[in-house]
């Protein structure tokens, strides 16, 4: 492992049991059903970078986030933080060094607590403040850091707008001095003008505090703005990963191309969009071979039967696509 790797996922998978209740199954003679939300996902995140995960809803982004912060264990594979296996109980002190920010800042803040107690809780839980005065000073400092006033600590979450509530969750996430933040759609519920405030704040904090981000979003323009690297997921699999600039200027995987093509064109250049065909199939019974094959303009027999592995391409990037591997797709354009 190169020394600047902070986090590594090795062939991580997660299966959920989505069977109907036992009695219904018995009555209708139905077996158990499972859903592979995350399937053979591997990537590394370097210290100080922002890796973004993109893809349509249901492709497994949030599940990857929850596996990393330990909200559920992986069904297969390993997650390492600074080389330590996170499933090993001895690695539990590592957990303090990663925190998570969610899409809905209201649901993640206890409405009955004052903001200062919400922000202080992780500090107290981890025993990071020796006394009351240090704690108060630290909470005030955190609130100022995210652009709120220390006096705002006296108020309750409902007294704040959506954007301010997201600032409160960021202050709380930062309170245990983490190095790594997992951010699941942190601006998706916000208006664009407020989104700009939060994205600017996140970039600024990253620079000042040397943070590393996993940033999940379905908005490619937001990702292009904030990410250094981007991974594209489809039906639980990571189909392409590349430096942000390369991914957006020269997408290789047909699904990445389709996603980029589907973004409404704010420049109104009048470019003809390739119509996007079809929808994401049911994840309980994904198509064989490459799961993107029913929607892919380049699919052939091999794509319909053999699962493509991710292969390395020049420029520290990789893609899982037979057409890319066989050189059937030009490096740029359609």
């Amino acid at each position: 492992m190169p020394p600047d790797t902070l986090l590594e996922l090795k062939d991580v998978g997660r299966t959920f049991d989505v069977s109907r209740p036992w009695l219904d199954r018995v009555l209708e003679g139905e077996g158990r059903r499972s859903l592979r939300a995350v399937d053979g996902v591997s990537f590394t995140i370097k210290r100080g970078e922002t890796l973004a995960l993109v893809g349509e809803s249901g492709c497994g982004k949030s599940t990857v986030a929850r596996l990393i912060v330990g909200l559920y264990p992986p069904s297969e594979g390993k997650i390492e933080f600074e080389g330590a296996d996170l499933s090993d109980p001895a690695s539990s002190p590592m957990r303090r060094r990663m925190q998570m920010i969610f899409q809905d800042p209201y649901a993640s803040l206890n409405p009955r607590w004052r903001v200062r107690d919400i922000v202080a809780e992780p500090i107290v839980a981890h025993g990071l403040a020796p006394d009351r005065a240090t704690l108060e000073a630290r909470v005030g400092e955190l609130l100022s850091q995210v652009g709120l006033a220390p006096q705002d600590g006296e108020k309750y979450p409902h007294e704040f707008s959506g954007g301010q509530r997201q600032r409160i969750s960021i202050a709380r996430a930062l309170s245990s001095n983490p190095e790594f933040l997992v951010c699941d759609e942190p601006t998706s519920a916000l208006d664009v003008s407020v989104q700009a405030q939060i994205l600017n704040l996140m970039k600024d904090l990253q620079q000042r505090l040397g943070l590393t981000y996993l940033f999940i979003s379905h908005n490619l323009a937001v990702v292009a703005h904030i990410a250094t690297r981007v991974g594209v997921m489809y039906l639980g699999r990571l189909v392409e990963i590349a430096d942000a600039r390369d991914l957006f200027t020269q997408p290789r995987h047909p699904y990445t191309r389709m996603l980029i093509d589907a973004i409404p064109d704010l420049e109104m250049s009048g470019k003809a969009r390739t119509p996007v065909a079809g929808e994401v199939p049911n994840p309980i019974s994904p198509p064989p071979g490459c799961t993107f094959n029913p929607r892919c303009p380049h699919a052939n027999e091999r794509c319909r039967s053999e699962r493509p592995m991710r292969i390395d391409l020049p420029g520290s990037r990789s893609a899982a696509c037979h057409a890319v591997e066989e050189g059937r797709l030009s490096a740029s354009g359609g």
Partner: protein
């Protein structure tokens, strides 16, 4: 110039509360021509949905139209009795909402719902209505419509349900379609398909569309003109190219430059500090003045009405002649 299909004149929507009256839509005027798509944008709480609800006559009490007029093809519809309005809705105005499930009844097949709506508005027998319903489903891009027509809404994906809602809204060839965030709940790839579909049906039926959304990209691809709302008021209105590329109102400029764009490397995004005021705390003068980098004395006391500004109209004192 053709006569407008829809005219909204000085619309004011109020909510009486115990602590006084909230004005959620304030002195709003605009027109939509036949065949035109007007995009309505603004942050949440700006009054977009209430404006749409006022037009289709579905404001929920205690919300009410306190003053102003709404005219459809020259005829006032804001003061019609509920029965007359119900006939207009569906026949002359079609509505599409963000969540397709609010427009579909889970207990009936989509065929039953389409056939009923068709028969209410058009003189068709059951057999004719059924074959028209199958045609409509094909028009909105439902694969195998003759087989899917007997399915229930929950058998369809979100994108397919929104197609069904569009079919339902189009049944009687309405003159006006009010679409409130029709693609917000959908993924980008599906969103693009629905936008294309909306554009196609508007063109083919010569219907006017009021497209409410907070997504400027959707507007850029779909709308002919754009209205920007702020705190219940019209901030700016004009042709889509001019509003996006040459915005005149300081709020529209701020909004446009706060949007991250592909293919553009910026260290930080332009940001408008602060937040839109709550309805209980709209400042005197221009509602945007506390956040405006260009405000001057007049902005603090006198409220600007939309005035010519380049190719647009902007409610901003910078353009007072």
């Amino acid at each position: 110039m053709t006569a407008p299909l829809l005219e909204v004149r000085n619309l004011r929507v109020e909510f009486p509360t115990r602590r006084g009256t909230l004005v959620a839509v304030d002195d709003l005027s605009f027109e939509i021509a036949p065949g035109e798509v007007l995009g309505v944008v603004g942050e949440s709480g700006a009054g977009k949905s209430l404006t749409g609800m006022a037009i289709i006559g579905l404001l929920e009490p205690p919300g009410r139209i306190a003053s102003g007029q709404i005219l459809l093809e020259g005829e006032r519809i804001d003061n019609l009795p509920p029965d007359a309005m119900r006939r207009i809705r569906g026949k002359r105005i079609g509505a599409i909402f963000q969540d397709p499930l609010t427009s579909l009844n889970p207990l009936f097949t989509i065929g039953e719902q389409l056939i009923e709506t068709l028969q209410v508005h058009l003189e068709l027998d059951h057999k004719q209505a059924r074959s028209r319903a199958i045609e409509l489903l094909a028009e909105v891009g439902i694969p195998a419509p003759a087989a899917r027509i007997d399915n229930y809404p929950h058998h369809f994906s979100g994108g397919m349900r929104q197609r069904v809602v569009i079919a339902l809204a189009l049944c009687a060839h309405p003159r006006l379609i009010v679409a409130d965030e029709p693609t917000t709940a959908l993924d980008v790839s599906i969103q693009a398909q629905i936008i294309d579909l909306l554009k196609k049906v508007a063109r083919e039926n010569g219907a006017a569309v009021m497209l409410i959304t907070h997504d400027m990209g959707v507007i850029a691809e779909t709308a002919d003109r754009v209205a920007v709302m702020y705190a219940g008021r019209l901030a700016e209105i004009g042709p889509v190219k001019d509003v996006i590329h040459a915005p005149r109102h300081p709020y529209t400029s701020g909004l446009m430059s706060s949007i991250p764009k592909l293919g553009e490397q910026r260290e930080s995004l332009a940001q408008i500090d602060g937040a839109m005021p709550r309805l209980t705390a709209i400042p005197p003068g221009c509602a945007f003045n506390p956040r405006c980098p260009k405000r001057f004395d007049r902005c603090m006391t006198e409220r600007p009405s939309p005035m010519p500004a380049g190719a647009n109209h902007a409610a901003c004192w910078l353009y007072a002649s």
